[in-house]
């Protein structure tokens, strides 16, 4: 057996190190370490509850809006407040815009450049892959201006991105009129144009209507071009469908609430069927984390404990290990679309489950669905109605904000006593996916997904490992908030 220490992984958000045990050219075991601790849960103690909205977006630059929305939801939950319809629409639009930008950023900046690397120079598709080269290949040079133009939505509705204070428990602080509504439609139309001409090479509706793995194969064979078809071809060549299997248990907190019903359903997918998510099943295990451990074992986040201990025995990561009724769950776009019953993702799940290829496809499906929703929500804004309401914060209250960020389920649990934050606990999506082992020795989702991945002779940071790691689109800064 040989041991490799892989890292840093560039083109993931934040710092990541993975220890790999290699046997007979395959990964036998993986240990995922987040080598950074940031301490936000400690910073928040003693603050005025509303100040959470200043701090939490700064947990993560790539999903700052998700953090804001989760905090606003937790505060609103503590107050018993619900935003008016306009406020709910604008919150959903801002969150969806961040998620769309995240998915596309993952595709163009983080994931695709691996196909353009020297290791694939001999492949028949190498020439086509050159378009996706890191640091300014033509695809990136087309994508970045399109991304910046689309994120004008954030300038318009949220002041700026990342890090806004415009997302409040009672709605949004920027009321819009017909002119802004029209501009919003214009920014969405600009993205649609980029997606249809460059990313999909097809109409959004046609992509959103793909309803099975066979339908996707037929669509790929149609040869109309577009960067998504290029991905499908490269991933066939690189065998991505066989890399990085998921744990079989998938989790979504539900996304984009309107009239108390989320646009993407809340629940779990367990071995082929959907079921309800039971919040009380969630607990965080510290057995292998550099964290003080509660005597009674894993605690639910509503009573969670975050105290660093750099000398904790047996520990190898700053990341805790959240578990659902003691089991490992994967979260992210694949899980979200599966739990929602999206036909293509359900069919991919039946054919080959969650894996390095299907995770990327789920994101592209989600982007198409979200742009269609953006158009609907924008048209539904009624400029003469209120956008934001307020209500006093009780001196003692608890609240939970359970939402979906681009990378999956994000929860904030808040305990207010005597008008101040007494406890604030956060479980980020990548905390689920990149957790270390727990007290019973179960590896986290990514640790397990890496087992069996091939290692080519001489590789120190195996390309298969890189594909698998990036297929989760990890966000390590969130993980170690």
């Amino acid at each position: 057996m040989t041991r490799l220490v892989a890292g840093p992984f560039n083109r993931v958000e934040g710092d990541l190190e993975i220890r790999l045990d290699v046997e007979d050219g395959r990964i036998a075991a993986a240990y995922v370490n987040s080598p950074l601790y940031r301490g936000f849960e400690q910073i928040l103690v003693g603050k005025a509850p509303a100040d959470a909205l200043v701090y939490v977006p700064r947990i993560c630059g790539i999903c700052s809006v998700s953090q804001s929305i989760a905090a606003a939801a937790a505060l609103a939950n503590a107050q018993g407040l619900r935003p008016p319809e306009n406020g709910a629409h604008l919150q959903n639009i801002v969150l969806a815009a961040e998620n769309i930008a995240d998915h596309l950023t993952h595709f163009y900046l983080f994931f695709m450049p691996d196909f353009a690397r020297g290791i694939y120079a001999g492949e028949p598709w190498a020439k086509a892959a050159a378009r996706f080269q890191a640091m300014g290949g033509d695809a990136q040079r087309e994508f970045l201006p399109a991304r910046a133009a689309f994120l004008r939505i954030m300038g318009l509705l949220a002041g700026h991105w990342p890090h806004t204070l415009g997302l409040q428990p009672g709605g949004t602080t920027r009321a819009i009129g017909r002119a802004e509504q029209t501009r919003l439609l214009g920014y969405i139309a600009g993205l649609r144009r980029f997606l249809e001409a460059t990313f999909y090479g097809d109409g959004l509706e046609a992509v959103a209507a793909l309803d099975s793995a066979d339908a996707l194969d037929a669509w790929e064979a149609d040869a109309s071009g577009g960067d998504l078809r290029a991905f499908l071809a490269f991933s066939r060549g690189a065998g991505l469908e066989r890399l990085g299997p998921g744990p079989g248990l998938y989790l979504s907190f539900g996304a984009y609430p309107l009239d108390s019903r989320p646009a993407f359903a809340r629940g779990v997918w367990d071995g082929g069927a959907t079921g309800p998510l039971r919040e009380e099943d969630i607990a965080e295990d510290h057995a292998r984390a550099w964290m003080v451990r509660a005597a009674e074992g894993p605690r639910p986040p509503s009573r969670g404990l975050t105290l660093p201990d750099a000398d904790a025995a047996d520990a190898y990561s700053w990341c805790k290990a959240p578990r659902l009724a003691g089991r490992v769950a994967e979260t992210g776009a694949f899980a979200r679309q599966l739990v929602d019953g999206q036909p293509l993702v359900m069919s991919l799940s039946t054919r080959s489950g969650s894996n390095a290829r299907n995770r990327v496809i789920a994101r592209t499906v989600e982007v198409a669905r979200l742009v269609l929703l953006l158009e609907r929500w924008t048209a539904a804004v009624r400029p003469d109605d209120p956008f934001c309401v307020t209500m006093p914060m009780p001196d003692d209250a608890r609240g939970a904000g359970m939402i979906e960020a681009a990378r999956g389920s994000l929860g904030h649990w808040l305990d207010i006593r005597k008008g101040r934050i007494f406890n604030y606990q956060i479980i980020a999506p990548t905390t689920w996916n990149f957790s270390p082992r727990d007290g019973s020795g179960q590896p986290g989702a990514c640790e397990a997904a890496l087992v069996g991945a091939p290692v080519r002779p001489g590789e120190a940071t195996p390309i298969a490992v890189q594909h698998i790691v990036r297929s989760f689109d990890p966000c390590m800064v969130c993980t170690v908030h």
């Binding site: 083109r11 890090h163 602080t173």
Partner: protein, 354 residues
Amino acid sequence: MPGDLPPDASGIAAREAADEPGRHTLFWLQSGGCGGCSMSLLNADSPDLFAALDLGRIDVLAHPSLCEASGEDHHALIAEILAGRQPLDILCVEGAILRGPSGTGRFHLQPGTGKPVMRLVEELAPIARHVVAIGSCTAFGGVSAAGDNVTEACGLAFDGAEPGGLLGPAFRSRSGLPPISIAGCPTHPGWIVETLVQLGHGTLGASDLDAFGRPRFYADHLVHHGCTRNEFYEYKASAKEPGQLGCLMEHMGCIGTQVHGDCNMRAWNGEGSCIRGGYPCIGCTEPRFGERDAPFLETPKRGGIPVGLPTDMPKAWFVALASLAKAATPERLRRNALSERIAVPPGKASGKPK
């Protein structure tokens, strides 16, 4: 959307430029932060990021969101730089320096080597021609140092407003400049690319930086300058609830009259700013950003007067002018200030200009 040029044209330009002399290398290191300044950098438009790098003749050796290399290739690059075989012109550090626990730096170890990142920064900084602190965490400690500062976070050359930080007050990079602090949380993409391009063109000197090392091209302004709510400010017609149109200083915690930045003079994400988004300036470019004596969205007052008054304005004058202004507030502003949308439009119903 791709700009006026057909997309490939800029690609060709970049390939041709690679043969030119006088190019500058850039190494971007993420320390203890949220990555938001990198994300903000990607928002650069007119010119977009790659076009700006072309303009500044800058070659990116490493950037965590952009570069191909990982693991061993990344370590090899650092070894080449430290050995002096790979010239380093611009070192950008993003994120606070985490010195904890107890000064060991173990809260942030470099993946793959287990070396404290603060040590790596100490080794690279003297080699680089210019050292740039990206964002308020890197400049001062920022939000990373808030609360009890359990991670012992500090900036490159400041610990809050105190000179010092990781590199010490006397540190000068090979160019003779102190670390350039592109403070902001996040920092504006324009602030970064305009600084980098000026470094690339050799046009940024010591007199272009303020006392905290911030480029004066944006730090010589106040956030208040160009604020779309200035008419409300003049008449002290103030918002009381989030989303209302009035000035945010009196009740909503805005400190834009004291904070350095051209946030209301250049657009964020095409057309935004904090205040245009309906929420106050919370002073993210300032050395003490991250902690506040009062809740951020409330204005602390003494005797009914906001504690924080405009920079260089005598308090008595402010009070006198404010009470005069309040007495003279037009009904239009009084009502609009408390509304989410314009309730009373300007001008007489006749529409005749006077």
